[in-house]
């Protein structure tokens, strides 16, 4: 801040010459416009706005002027400084914008390069189908019941009205636990869980029993000795086969698609009477048996897909579990999870499901 100019030197006052000021502004504007980098602009700023710049010097001289000249000189210098300052700011903004744009271009990364840092894993589709099925029944108000895989023979067979010498018992291809007479088997279905449920609690019972089961089949394209089932059990007053059909219809529509319906066919199972085989209208060909003029591969041209067995809980089973058949009736059904998976997802070979190859599970992700 300069004080009053007491030693006025008229020579120096030349700095306030209007022509000189104009020249200084011209010089400044030219240098600012010529600056192509922020560094060059910084040099221009120092040269034309710095303490030793002509306009700064001129400004300093104003104080030395006589009051009459101060106003005009001040205005002239102020305007000149204003023009230069404006040009600097504009150019600064332009150059910064250019720099920012350039940096963004320079920082470009090819994101199409797949960087598999830590890939996500996957659930097994058998688990996913099982959980989906569980959710369908839970949504209907059912509960999920479970039990052991090594099971008491009585619960796996006798209590289900499969007597020791009945041919049905031989048809189950059972794994027996040593020593003979242990009274234990690997469960051949999840029906013992139904019995356990009836033994543990009173009706009304609405449970789904999913789980691993065992049969002494050899592994081939459509069979596996260790597979998964889900069985449903309802015991309540006034339960009929119509309720069985209604439940199955609701289920297949939620798993396989709207409009799919079931068909019951007479069959035999010791634990149900009357018993029924469950067929489901083929959702691929809509039940016509043909697809684009050729035989539908999903249903084999029959228009129907076999899903499993069902029926009204045999009153002998109810009695063995301590349920009064005079008061309660119930229905039960059983379906295979692997089979549902193969049908719903076009899995051609059981080997892929059971061999534990990660490539199989990875196809499905975590929701099915």
């Amino acid at each position: 801040m300069s004080g009053p100019n007491t030693q006025y030197d008229p020579v120096e006052v030349a700095a306030l010459d209007p022509a000189a000021i104009d020249r200084a502004v011209e010089d400044a504007l030219a240098q600012i416009a010529a600056a192509t980098t922020l560094d060059q602009l910084k040099a221009a700023r120092t040269a034309h706005q710095g303490e030793k710049s002509p306009l700064a010097l001129a400004n300093r001289e104003i104080g030395a002027l006589p009051p009459s000249a101060k106003a005009e000189a001040g205005k002239r210098v102020g305007q000149a400084r204003g023009r230069v300052g404006h040009a600097l700011r504009e150019r600064q903004e332009e150059l910064e914008a250019e720099r920012d744009a350039r940096i963004l271009v320079e920082e470009t990364v090819d994101l199409t390069v797949r960087v598999p840092r830590r890939p996500l894993g996957a659930r097994h589709p058998v688990s996913l189908v099982s959980e989906r099925v569980e959710d369908i029944f839970v949504a209907m108000g059912w509960e999920i019941a479970e039990g052991p895989e090594i099971e008491a023979e009585w619960l796996n067979f006798d209590a289900l009205n499969i007597a020791a010498d009945h041919p049905a018992r031989q048809e189950q291809d059972t794994f027996f636990v040593d020593p003979p007479g242990s009274g234990l088997v690997l469960r051949t279905h999840t029906s013992p869980v139904q019995v356990r449920t009836m033994l543990e609690r009173r009706p009304p019972i609405y449970v789904l029993c999913p789980g691993k089961v065992f049969r002494t089949d050899d592994l081939d394209a459509t069979h596996t000795p260790v597979f998964h089932q889900f069985e449903g059990l309802v015991v309540d007053e006034g339960i009929t086969m119509a309720h069985l059909k209604g439940t199955l219809d609701a289920f297949v529509q939620r798993l396989f698609g709207a409009g799919v319906e079931t068909r019951l066919r007479p069959n035999y199972f010791p634990f149900t009477e009357p018993s029924a085989e469950i067929d489901c209208r083929c959702w691929v060909c809509g039940g016509s048996g043909t697809l684009g003029g050729v035989r539908c591969r999903t249903c084999g041209g029959t228009g129907w897909i076999e899903l499993g067995g069902s029926g009204m809980v045999n009153q002998r089973v109810l009695r063995a579990a301590g349920v009064d058949p005079g008061r309660y009736t119930g229905f039960a059904f059983g379906l295979g999870i692997e089979r549902s998976l193969m049908l719903r997802h076009n899995v051609a070979d059981m080997h892929d499901i059971v061999e534990g190859d990660v490539r199989f599970s990875r196809q499905f992700g975590m929701e099915i």
Binding site: E153, A159, S182, G246, L264
Partner: protein, 856 residues
């Protein structure tokens, strides 16, 4: 069971235009599942031909072909070229003049095999002379069919060249194959299937058992007098049973019929052979074919003995300990005292009753006199013998499922009639020993079908249906008395009869109605935990698999388990899939490692797997499970014993990984998976459940002793272990070196969670950080230092983070320096530097006391 439609037509009024598919559909409606539809796929021209010329022409490949000219009547080349059919044939079992079967160009053989004129061996062959196999008539492919041999001279007298051979050989016949469920033993016969067809379609049924039966002179005679055998007197039968099963006699009806002077070597007639072939049996000889034919028609297994090998009478008894019998299949069988035997007058075993005959009384080429047995054996006795001797025969399958005890006499009579008619024998008298207990009628509430099915069934319909299936129905009220027919031993109670009523109206009539349901409690805590455990591992990069839980005993050695490791105690299967894997796994890792090995072998070098599943942890003393009756709920003590006999089966989750945890590439180097990953996955699982696992060093097989972490709850309960597998284990299991793995008890995690977390209020005051570097001996685990720091620092410590670990010149040998950042925060104020320093000093002092740590 195979049912030829043409045979069925003799027993039921099958509409003339009904196809095999129609018949199958009708059977499906009443519960006989269609297994297949055979035959009926041959298309003409397929005609009778007479061989006019046959020239043998040796070929360069060593074969000799026959260049034939065959008269096929007004067909084929006769129509187009005015000459006889010219055909190349590879067989030589025929002569000029023989009648053969020719398929001409345009014809189609079974399997859709279309025939055209074709150049072969230098000739244009206009069709083919057929073998039995090519026509689907059997396995014979040794030569072509010569009709005079196949059908007999008599039957071919009137045949002319050009006659249609499709009708002649019954090739237009369709055969419906149905699956017969164990309750429908009577459907293992044409009689039963025809009855079901009639029931399904409403057409008339003609019972083939309804024939003129000679009544037995010994009918309802308990023990006819033994001895005094004259050719016309009935044969003596003595039924004994020293050890009835469940109080039921092993045999409650036995009919013996003698036929003398039969030419047993004679071939059975072509019609019978054809039918046997159609139902899947091989024609053998007249005696055998007749018994099989009658069994297929009526469902009654019969046995033919060579009468002259028997000593005077026939009967039954249980086997004696150590007794042996060589059965017809040539196997010497060690009999069990529960086996019911057929024996002769000198007590010599002749057969395992209802299962298989013995070799000594087998009908041979020299047999002329036959004893025909038609008996009704106890299903349970036959079932046990068949199972015991692993001998499931056509007879045993029928007896196990229940044979109609009223058809016995008719079956015996039909067999005798056929043997006399076809084999030229004479029949003796009849012995019919009948000890059957009359069946009791069932009281049946006619409203039960409505109650069970949810569809209105009027009383009249119920009664009419029951009568239609052969029941006798008595009474006028709502509850009627029902006596099921003799061929339905499966109809025992109300619901059995409900099914009959429902299936005759049709299951397709049943409406669809969703049951009321409950409010529902959703998934249990345990079920939700398991889903979360599975999802968390998948989100950490592991892939779920499901393995078979079977292992071999040497696996436990390969895993390096000590001799007394409780994980060696397991359950053994009596009939494992493979003798190499007869045991149930005691860890999920047991079987997961094999899945890992397979993935690596298939080229998945970087692989991380997990599995959730049950394992077995048997009690030291594993009692056998009782098998109570089922008439009532077992008493509480029996039920407790049943449940207690089932070994505990905790649910575990295991994981295993090999290769890179993070792949290498243009972005940087790969990072191989290591033991810390295994620990981190386990901690991740616990954290997802809101738990922090306490990690400590452990030495446990199958892990590397220096790279194994025990994972525990805060209260010390072990959750599991994780780390790197022992090098010897990876070598023994053929896994890549440095494979890592872990196993957690999910049940422990479930039990430790589930109560609500109590949230703490968050302090909004700024945190204060301070760093400490502590020098500790190598063997001091970082977790111990951290725990001591936490304890010493007190309640305002927010976190402890290890940010550096140093070994080298700056610290003494066998020591390392651990550098921690401690973060403090108070709930109610900004902490001062002095406060923080004081707390840090207390933390360091605590670490020094607990671990010997020295601040650097």
């Amino acid at each position: 069971m195979h049912a030829p439609v043409s045979w069925l037509r003799e027993l039921a009024d099958v509409p003339a235009d009904a196809t095999g598919a129609d018949v199958a559909a009708a059977l499906v409606r009443v519960g006989l599942e269609e297994e297949g539809l055979h035959g009926g796929d041959v298309r003409g021209p397929l005609v009778v031909g007479r061989v006019l010329e046959a020239t043998d022409e040796p070929q360069r490949n060593g074969k000799v072909i026959r260049w034939c000219s065959v008269d096929v009547g007004q067909n084929g080349q006769m129509l187009t070229e005015g000459r006889h059919q010219e055909i190349v044939c590879g067989a030589h079992n025929f002569a000029v003049g023989d009648l053969v079967v020719c398929v001409l160009p345009g014809g189609v053989l079974p399997g859709g095999f279309e025939i055209g004129a074709r150049k072969t061996y230098g000739h244009l062959s206009n069709g083919m002379i057929c073998s039995a196999r090519e026509l689907g008539l059997g396995d014979d492919h040794e030569g072509i069919i010569v009709l005079q041999e196949l059908l007999g001279g008599q039957a071919t007298v009137d045949l002319k060249p050009g006659d249609d051979a499709i009708a002649l050989l019954g090739l237009g016949d369709e055969v419906v194959e149905v699956n017969v469920t164990p309750d429908r033993g009577y459907c293992l016969s044409l009689r039963g299937i025809a009855r079901e067809y009639a029931l399904s379609t409403g057409v008339a049924f003609r019972d083939p058992a309804d024939l003129s039966v000679r009544t037995g002179e010994g009918t309802r005679v308990a023990e006819p007098p033994v001895g005094a055998q004259s050719p016309v007197r009935p044969y003596a039968v003595h039924l004994r049973d020293q050890a009835p099963l469940a109080g039921r006699a092993g045999c409650d009806r036995y009919i013996a019929r003698v036929v003398r002077g039969v030419d047993v070597g004679a071939a059975s007639p072509a019609w019978m052979q054809k039918r046997l072939t159609q139902v899947g049996m091989r024609p053998i000889s007249l005696a055998v074919d007749v018994t099989n034919y009658v069994m297929m028609l009526l469902g009654q297994p019969l046995h033919a003995f060579d009468l002259d090998t028997l000593s005077g009478s026939v009967g039954t008894r249980r086997a004696r300990p150590g007794e042996r019998l060589t059965t017809l299949d040539g196997v010497e069988r060690r009999l069990d005292p529960e086996d019911l035997l057929v024996v002769d007058g000198s007590d010599t075993p002749l057969a395992v009753a209802g299962v298989m005959g013995g070799a000594s009384s087998e009908v041979s080429a020299s047999t002329t006199n036959l004893l025909i047995e038609a008996a009704h054996f106890d299903p349970v006795s036959v079932a046990r013998s068949a199972r015991r001797h692993r001998l499931s025969t056509e007879a045993s399958r029928r007896f196990e499922r229940g044979v109609d005890p009223d058809v016995t006499a008719a079956a015996a009579q039909l067999a005798v009639d056929l043997l006399v008619g076809l084999g030229g024998g004479t029949a003796d008298g009849v012995t019919d020993v009948d000890h059957r207990v009359p069946r009791e009628p069932v009281d049946f509430d006619t409203q039960l079908p409505t109650r069970y099915v949810g569809l209105e069934y009027p009383r009249d319909e119920v009664v009419t249906t029951l009568r239609a299936i052969g029941c006798e129905v008595g009474g006028d009220g709502r509850v009627v008395s029902v006596l099921p027919p003799s061929w339905r031993p499966d109809l025992l109670d109300g619901p059995d009869l409900v099914e009959e009523v429902a299936r005759v109206r049709g299951y397709d009539q049943i409406p669809s109605a969703v049951p009321p349901g409950l409010a529902g409690a959703g998934l249990t805590h345990g079920q939700r935990v398991r889903r979360l455990v599975a999802t968390t591992l998948a989100q950490q990069g592991l892939v779920e698999v499901l393995t078979y839980p079977f292992v071999g005993p040497e696996l436990f050695d390969r895993l390096g388990y000590p001799a007394d490791d409780p994980r060696r105690r397991t359950v053994r299967l009596g009939n494992p899939l493979s003798e190499e894997a007869p045991l149930m796994r005691t860890s999920v890792l047991d079987t997961l490692v094999e899945a890992l090995r397979r993935n690596v072998a298939r080229g998945t070098r970087d692989c991380a797997l997990y599995e959730l599943g049950l394992v077995v942890a048997p009690r030291e003393e594993q009692p056998a499970a009782p098998v109570p009756g089922i008439d009532d709920r077992p008493d509480d003590e029996t039920l407790r014993l049943v449940l207690h006999a089932v070994p505990p089966q905790p649910r575990h989750v295991a994981f295993a990984a090999t290769g890179d945890a993070e792949a290498g590439g243009p972005w940087g180097a790969a990072r191989p998976v290591d033991a810390a990953d295994a620990v981190a996955w386990a901690r991740g699982v616990a954290r997802a459940l809101g738990l922090d696992l306490v990690v400590s060093a452990a030495d446990r097989a199958p892990w590397h002793p220096g790279r194994c972490a025990r994972l525990a709850l805060a209260d010390g309960t072990t959750v599991g272990h994780a780390g790197e597998l022992h090098p010897k284990v990876t070598a023994a299991l053929e896994l890549p070196a440095r494979t890592v793995a872990g196993e957690l008890d999910v049940d422990v995690l479930v039990a430790a969670t589930g109560s609500p977390v109590h949230a703490r209020p968050l302090s909004t005051y700024p945190p204060a950080h301070t760093d400490v570097a502590l020098v500790v001996p190598e063997e001091v685990p970082a977790a111990a230092v951290e725990a001591a720091l936490r304890e010493g620092a007190g309640g305002s410590l927010e976190s402890v983070v290890l940010f550096d670990l140093y070994r080298g010149d700056q610290v003494p040998a066998a020591h390392r320096s651990l550098a921690y950042r401690l973060t403090f925060r108070a709930d109610d104020r900004t902490m001062t530097t002095d406060e923080v320093s004081a707390l840090r000093d207390r933390a360091v002092a605590a670490a020094a006391r607990a671990t010997g740590a020295v601040q650097r």
